[in-house]
Each structure stands twice: as structure tokens, then as C-alpha cells.
Symmetry: C2
Amino acid sequence: MPAKFDSDTISFLISDVARLLRSEFDRRTSNVGIGLTPGEARILVGAARAGPVRQTVLAERVGLEAMTLSTYLDRLEERGLLSRMADPADRRAKLVQVTDAAEAVLDDIARIGTELRTDMSATIDPAQLEEIRQGLHQMRVCLIAMRPDCSKGSSKA
Amino acid sequence: MPAKFDSDTISFLISDVARLLRSEFDRRTSNVGIGLTPGEARILVGAARAGPVRQTVLAERVGLEAMTLSTYLDRLEERGLLSRMADPADRRAKLVQVTDAAEAVLDDIARIGTELRTDMSATIDPAQLEEIRQGLHQMRVCLIAMRPDCSKGSSKA
DNA sequence: GCGAAATAATAAGCAACCCTTATTATAAGG
DNA sequence: CCTTATAATAAGGGTTGCTTATTATTTCGC
């Protein structure tokens, strides 16, 4: 079984880096006392960016199923970081919006995210970093196109 | 809350791509009838690469805690894909080794992994791809160095 | 109008992945 | 020999994400 496998392929590296990134983000937010998991932070940021937005739209925007998102929103709402109001235009729907109380947390998240990105790419040339970013973006497009439900035009592309 | 957050940062992209990659790998291995999760495949490949190896060493090499690895090995052993033998040099330790039956599965994994890498980077220039690979490698090194237990000299670097 | 089909959110439950803590068996050092 | 360290694991938990089914509402065809 000689060099049939290479553990430094792009795919292995991506999953390694993703795992390490998540745990490092977790560690840093814990230290600051935010107490949000990376996933929760992600949703909160997505909600902040999207403004008052329906859950289905937000789910599609952050790349999750509606049900998965709903559970996250439950937790964030419990912590008072966002609110769900009835959509006046459709009584089935709810509009999600971050609360004022979320501002400080969002600032912390933005700061920690920036620091983490800086720290983990300290040894990498900015131009190369931009190439990496664009390459990853293209990979995301490719992978989204492979999914069985390729019909929905995901905004992630 | 204008452009305080960018969902196309390296960090978001990495976690997105990792998630999509995992589910696509899962889909492809299911289609072939392997029935291994990406995580299991990863461990199997790691074991194949490392040869007869102690669990602690393998755990460190694949970047998991010993206990996490042990559970994976249980499943792989149940399927007859690897075996644990007593280490003659230390009766506490066990040596992990893939079985002959694993060969076909390993071949499938290698093929699918290669195909997947090719497909997801079809639109990317090979030279740029290599830069991305190296950049991710450096990120992994950085992130490993950040971990609290930075004492253990991880071989992942 | 009005009944059928689509849609928004959610209840319920499961799978994958990874961790920590405590325990057992064995080894190694003073 | 006895304390300490190490290899594996038992036990249990947490995060992330999914699918399926249900309820409330809207919309569309007739």
C-alpha cells in the first residue's frame, strides 16, 4: 500500500482546516464570554446581514434546510439576540430580525472572525490568499451544482 | 448594519465547502455501495497509510482524540475492514491494520476521492489549485499551533 | 366563491462527528 | 514495591445538519 493515498489533498485539507477553524472560533468566543457556537454565530450574522427576512429566505441564504434553521432561531431567540415577528404580508411566515442586544455580540463576532482570519493566514501572501478565496468560491459553486436538488437557484453561488 | 460582515470570507467558504464536500462524498460512496461515511473512510485510509500502528499514534496522525478514534475503529472492525492485534512490545497497546477485504474498498475510496477532487475543481487552473493546496496546508499548520495542547508535536504539520 | 395544491414554519426523530471524564490494564521509574 | 504514567475504552454529552410528517395559511383552477 504505497503512495495510493495522499493525506494532503485538497479535500482532506479542507475538512481538517474546517474542523480546526470551528474549534478555534469556539475557543475564542468562549474566552470572550459570548457563549455562542460557530453555527449560532453564523446564523446570527446571516440574520443581521439579511435584515428582516423570512425564515425560508434566510435558510436558503445560509445554506441550511428550513427546519435546521428553525432550531437555531429558537436558541437565538431564547437568548434575546433575535426576534420573530409575524409577516404582515403572509400570516404563515415570520420575519426574523436581530435585536439591539445582539449588536455587542455581533461586534465581538466580527472582531474575532477578523482576528482569526488574520492569524490563520499570517504566513500567506495576501495575493495568494485572494486566489485561495476565489478558488474556494468556485469549488462551492461546483459542489452546489452537484447536489441532487440542483433546481433551486441557490444564492450561495 | 451595512457591510460589517462578508459571507464570502475564507472562513465561511471553508466551512461551506467542507460541508458540501462531505455530503457529496457521502452521496457518491453510497451509490457505489461502500456504505462508509466520510469519517470512516478517512480513518480507514489513515490506517492503510500508517500500516500496523498503535491507536494513539494513529489518533494523533489523523487529528482525533484517542477515544474518538476508538469508536471509529470499532465500527470498521465490525465490518471486517481492519483488525486490532495485541502489540507484542506492550500489552496495553493494540496494533491496527487493514484487512485484505479492505483493499477493494480502499480502491473505491481512492477513485471516488480523485474523481470528486477533479469534479469540484474543474474550473480552476491547476497551478492555482496547487497554490490553494499549499495555502490550506499552511492554514492547517497555523491552526494546529493555536490549539491549547500545543505541546504534542503533531505530525499533521 | 371554493376546493385542491402549494408554501411557511415546526414537531419529532435520527445520523455523523467529535469531545471530556473516569476506569482498567499494563509499564516504567524511583 | 509502589507511585506515576500510558494505552485503550466505557459512559455520556454537545454541535451540526438531515428527513419526514403536521399545521396553518395562501393561491390557483374552476
